[in-house]
Amino acid sequence: MRRQPLGAFGLVVVVVLIAVAIFGSWVIPYNPISADPSAIRESPSIHHFFGTDQMGRDVFSRVVMGARLSVGVSFTVVAISAAISTVLGIIAGYYQRWPDYLLQRMGEFFSAFPPLVFLLLVVSVLHPSVKTLLIALTLPVALAGGSRVIRGAAISIKQSQYIEAARSVGASDARIIFFHILPNVMPLVIVGATTGLGSVILALAALGYLGLGVPPPTPDWGGDLSGQARTYFRSAPWLAIFPGLAIGLTVLSFNLLGDSLRDLLDPRLRSRGG
């Protein structure tokens, strides 16, 4: 903890964020989706910590409940896509030859789309919903032909002596993959997943801002910065500030945590003492 103060800060924020996502509905002072015509665009005060929006809804409650969507979507997407890209990465690296060739070409085809453009296309082909967002955000990873980092690691691990030893005592491919290669690439998977959480939250927010996220009135950090709210930013800047800060702080924490994990888990960096 003391050697990685920034990572510790990231870890604390991530833990708080997860707690807020799970227990947020117990601490919010107002219902985040019920409009209050008597409290329209009130500035932040003791009653409304982050002020109210153009429909009189409490911004603090919306930001707190927005954590549920961001955390829920990002953890689901990253869990599924990390599993897919790890498996494909190991297959490409371990078997090489045609599975590797096929997966590499898939990756090349897929890399012909800028990520945001691909998301826009997928989201608009499907109906807007949380399920659509999950599909749109997971698909790029599934189609990218596996993680290149994992593939590279699998290739180098495959050539090590302990794999040769395992094979010489008759271990099957499945056994070698599950008991020898997978545990050794796990640190890379964890580091990748942590920074992946940050990028998924950024992508989700961008879609929300473009009006292609979850349909209103579900609280959504990106969505709350789009649509009608935009016309009031000048007179009610708190509408623009707080959801944006929530996105920034969340992604920042995941990145700080990911950086620290990389320093702690990557043996190459550890031996350098840097």
């Binding site: 012909a112 800028p114 296309l121 608009s124 992604v251």
Partner: protein, 314 residues
């Protein structure tokens, strides 16, 4: 090397064909009928049928695709369903806006990313290094479009300042033009320069440990010569790889940044066309982005050879 370039270039054709087919058919499965959008919900069945025939939508999908591809290959990019104008003209009209954003962003990204990366590596573990690294994590974490909203909002609240409205071409008034384009470019560059800075730092630290750097130093070369001629040049390969990748991301980023700054570039064209189900426009723009992306990837590969002579002898 030549054979390598030819093989890589030959691979572009199937990739682009696959992209065009994927986008063409995906668009046709979009919810929301274009005829309803154009004619309104009260149109008669006959009107709808006439419009479908007019737009060629009554033919089977593979025929529609071949007709479209044939036109595109002959240089006819088709017409917008919604505006009725030529997609090619509209692209030419909007290209300078997106191009200027991207060129300025690329300039800020390389200038900030590489120079701070070199500084950070050179003064490793000093307070300066920490400041640069922490700043770069912020750059990675804050959404560029939100920074854009803030850049527009804060001066307008405090000083009632707003950038010129409506596109001002660079040849008309260079200052007004830069007032319009520098903020979006800086905001877009925040994220990509942070990525580049972190990579430059890591690549340089790697290179600085090599024996040939010690040799260069022990020959008595000046430190600046060691850094620029020996270290930076050898760290260029990973830097270029990332820069190429970042350019592709920026291309998507232009979609959202043009929206924030109300600039009528290609990104906004893409966004509004997708929202309005304007198939001909989306098809062409998707193909066009794919062409740029694959060509960019090819250029990155070719530039390896320029920076690393070993690649040439492969």
């Amino acid at each position: 090397m030549q054979g390598y370039i030819i093989r890589r270039a030959g691979f572009l054709v199937p990739v682009l064909l696959a992209v065009s087919i994927a986008v063409f058919f995906a668009l046709r499965f979009m919810p929301g009928d274009i005829t309803v959008i154009l004619l309104g919900p009260d149109a008669s069945a006959q009107q709808v049928a006439e419009l479908r025939a007019d737009l060629g939508l009554d033919k089977p999908m593979p025929v529609q695709y071949l007709n479209w591809m044939g036109d595109v290959l002959r240089g006819d990019l088709g017409e917008s369903y919604v505006l009725g104008n030529s997609v090619g003209d509209e692209i030419l009209h909007r290209l300078p806006i997106t191009l200027e954003i991207l060129v300025l962003t690329l300039f800020f990204t390389t200038a900030l990313g590489i120079s701070f990366g070199v500084i950070s590596a050179f003064f490793q573990n000093s307070p300066l290094d920490y400041v640069v690294r922490v700043t770069s994590v912020f750059g990675l974490s804050l959404p560029g479009w939100w920074l854009g909203i803030m850049i527009l909002l804060i001066p307008s609240i405090w000083w009632s300042y707003s950038p010129p409205i409506g596109y001002v071409p660079i040849k008309d008034d260079i200052l007004a033009n830069l007032r319009q384009f520098v903020p979006p470019a800086l905001v877009l560059a925040a994220g990509s320069s942070a990525v580049l800075m972190r990579l430059t730092r890591a690549a340089l630290l790697d290179v600085l440990r090599q024996d040939y750097i010690r040799t260069a130093r022990s020959k008595g070369l000046r430190e600046s010569t060691v850094i620029i001629r020996h270290a930076v040049k050898n760290a260029m390969i990973p830097i270029i790889t990332v820069l190429g990748g970042q350019m592709i991301i920026l291309f998507g980023g232009a979609v959202i940044i043009e929206q924030v700054f109300s600039l009528e570039g290609l990104g906004r064209y893409m966004y509004t066309s997708i929202v309005q189900r304007d198939f001909p426009v989306v098809q062409v723009l998707a193909l066009y982005t794919a062409v740029i992306v694959v060509v960019m990837n090819l250029l990155v590969d070719i530039s390896y050879a320029w920076f690393d002579p070993r690649v040439r002898y492969r």
